[in-house]
């Protein structure tokens, strides 16, 4: 924790940046991070967004302002993730009883279900940030979207893998072409497409908007794909957790929910770390970054 001093340093720097630039509205030139005039704490990239620039939520649309905030969130989330993982695994393995029909194998759900949920939630979040980025041209929205994608892909892969290992002893097969499995697999493909597309452009800004568009196209298609494969094939059980009640014993449910929050915290922490790395990469010519890390 030797970074705290540095952190407050960053924060005050960012603040002074904002103060010295009361109407920061210089649009970025084409091409990645090339010749930015002075240090631009460009709050928002286009004129439409500029109108809102006085509102509180645009304050953190600026990478310079968001950088220290992201650092704080990251640290907090690491702490929460580690603590909740320990608590969740303890309850899951040492407090929760054996399941009546599945025996001990059911303990895989403490990671399988959160991973499957995160895979879906992260895609939605990605689509949300992409839409925001396309609508207002905020660079930070695109960065958030990029930062989420690899973790989302990993969560989809983990839920497929753990599902296979759980399915073998319980259903009797590693893989069935079942609706949920298949649509998770397709979700994984969509993540891969997004990541590959974002990487295919030399021009970062173009890559931002192109991948944002494909994230939205995918988001429109996800429900259609889900229903088409549902109709095609289904074996997966109904949802165990529904609004208004759940069909799980309470200790098992507690463990699973604790693990879910741990996964949330982990994903947020990783995304914040990635956003900070991207800010360093993309804003490397901005002066405020000079004092950040040496």
């Amino acid at each position: 924790m030797a970074r705290t001093e540095q952190q407050s340093n960053e924060r005050s720097k960012a603040r002074s940046n904002r103060a010295s630039n009361p109407s920061p509205s210089i649009p970025l030139p084409e091409g990645e991070g090339s010749v930015e005039p002075t240090f631009t704490s460009v709050n928002v990239g286009n004129a439409r967004a500029e109108r809102f620039s006085g509102r509180w939520f645009w304050r953190f649309a600026s990478p310079a302002a968001f950088y220290p905030l992201a650092g704080t969130i990251e640290k907090l989330c690491w702490f929460v993730a580690i603590a909740l993982t320990i608590i969740g695994l303890y309850i899951g393995f040492f407090r929760a009883p054996t399941d009546a029909t599945q025996g001990e194998v059911y303990r895989v759900i403490y990671i399988h279900v959160p991973a499957a949920w995160m895979a879906m939630v992260i895609y939605l979040a990605m689509a949300f940030w992409s839409a925001l980025g396309l609508a207002f041209g905020t660079r930070l929205s695109f960065m958030m979207s990029h930062a989420l994608a690899p973790t989302g892909a990993m969560m989809a892969a983990i839920s497929l893998w753990t599902g296979a290992l759980w399915g073998r002893p319980t259903w009797g097969t590693y893989w069935v072409w079942d609706a949920r499995l298949t649509s998770t697999l397709i979700l994984f493909f969509l993540y891969i497409g997004y990541i590959a597309l974002a990487a295919a452009f030399d021009d970062k800004k173009k890559g931002d908007r192109a991948s944002a568009l494909i994230a939205l196209v995918g988001a429109v298609n996800v429900p259609i794909i889900y229903f088409s494969v549902q109709w095609w094939n289904t074996l997966h059980q109904g949802a165990s957790v529904r609004p208004g009640g759940s069909s799980m014993a309470s200790t098992m449910l507690t463990a699973m929910m604790v693990m879910t929050f741990a996964f949330w915290a982990y994903c947020v922490a990783v995304a914040m770390h990635r956003v900070r790395t991207q800010i360093i990469e993309r804003e490397r010519d901005a002066k405020w970054l000079a004092g950040v890390k040496q």
């Binding site: 009546a100 002893p169 009797g172 059980q237 165990s240 014993a249």
Partner: protein
């Protein structure tokens, strides 16, 4: 035509296409699009003959008979019963009184020959004691129903 009118025409066209698509989906959903056939459907000859399909239902209690790796059991949807034969290893969750989905063909003798048997797992997770309590309650209810009849 001004630009505005053109745009309006395009949007109208799009909305028209989308509503046509919705109508088609609604039409399709009236059809029976099930993953498996129930014993009632099979008994009333709605299930396809001479081709592989899936049968779904509950394994009737007390119906499982094993001879070596050959297994015979009956699948029920509480209204009708279809006998099933299967050769191979059954999944862990395969139990009497639990859900099952079997893939195979229906013979002329009315016996379903399964090539694959998958346990259809329900969404209930509970410890053995709780399960025992639920079973007990069910049995008690059945008994009262029988005496009331």
């Amino acid at each position: 035509m001004t630009i505005k009118q053109k745009r309006l025409a395009l949007i109208l066209g799009g909305v028209l296409l989308l509503s046509a698509a919705t109508a088609l989906v609604l039409f399709a959903l009236r059809d029976n699009l099930a993953f498996f056939y129930t014993p009632s459907q099979i008994v009333s000859k709605e299930a396809p003959v001479n081709r592989t399909f899936r049968i779904g239902g509950m394994v009737e209690a007390g119906s499982v008979k094993r001879t070596g790796i050959e297994v015979a059991f009956r699948v029920t949807d509480t209204a009708q019963i279809v006998p099933v034969t299967y050769t191979g290893i059954l999944p862990d969750l395969f139990k009497e009184g639990k859900g099952v989905v079997a893939q195979g063909t229906l013979g002329a003798d009315g016996v379903f020959r399964a090539k694959e048997v998958l346990a259809k797992h329900d969404e209930n997770y509970m410890p053995p004691e709780a399960q025992a309590a639920v079973d007990k309650a069910n049995q008690a209810r059945e008994r009262t129903q029988k005496t009331l009849k």
